[in-house]
């Protein structure tokens, strides 16, 4: 079985993509709403990724 070594960012990015797709499909009713909500979730994931990353960096000094 292949073994992959992803960085933090790559792993979190993949996680965001897959989770956003499923959340968009399962929670909204029309295609447009699904696209919008999926993009919104993905944006929130990426924003949280950078925001928490910077907070941890600044918190460590």
């Amino acid at each position: 079985m292949p073994r992959v070594n992803l960085s933090h960012f790559e792993a979190a990015f993949l996680f965001s993509v897959f989770a956003s797709v499923v959340l968009g499909i399962t929670t909204k009713k029309t295609t447009r709403e699904r696209l919008n909500y999926g993009a919104y979730c993905f944006g929130c994931f990426i924003f949280a990724l950078f925001a928490i990353g910077w907070a941890m960096k600044l918190g460590h000094g």
Partner: protein, 197 residues
Amino acid sequence: MASISRTQQTTQSGATTVGRSVEPSQPADVQNAVAPAIREHDANDSHVTLVKVLRMAETQVAAAPKQAVPPINTWILPVAAAWFIPGLGHFLLKKTGRGALLFASIALMFLFGLFMRGMMFTPEKGADYLTSLINYGGFVCDIASGAFYLCAAIFGYSQPDMPGDVHDYGTKFLVTAGLLNILAMVDVFEIAAKRRD
């Protein structure tokens, strides 16, 4: 007859109340004579208001649609299929596009979890309550991936819990794949029960 006016009064606590009062310009005996009638009128008024509110509430409760649980044979097969192979329930309900996307997302997440050597939880009692909760909860989430979990278990995938960010991400990917499949199963149930298109 003394005129009655609706006034706004501010109480000591600062709350504003609306009530009826006799105009202060009236003589004291007139005020005393009219006060019981005002109190009775206010009591009747509030009683009428209360009855109206109760009737409105009854009407709204009666008008609210009750969602009956649909017969089990309408949704058990698609939901079971959705558990066994993510997206298959949507395929059975002729939602092929959504089914394909769900299958791809959940399968890729599970596969990346395996490729990162994530740990599969086992239902065992831990040293404390929280560890037991994590073990049992993680096991349920792993099982929710359906055939992916069964295949991994059958082919002997076993990874010890090792320190390291990649392994940790792998464990989270495996657990999240199951959680996302639970969302997909709920979606299948709602479609099969005609609660969604």
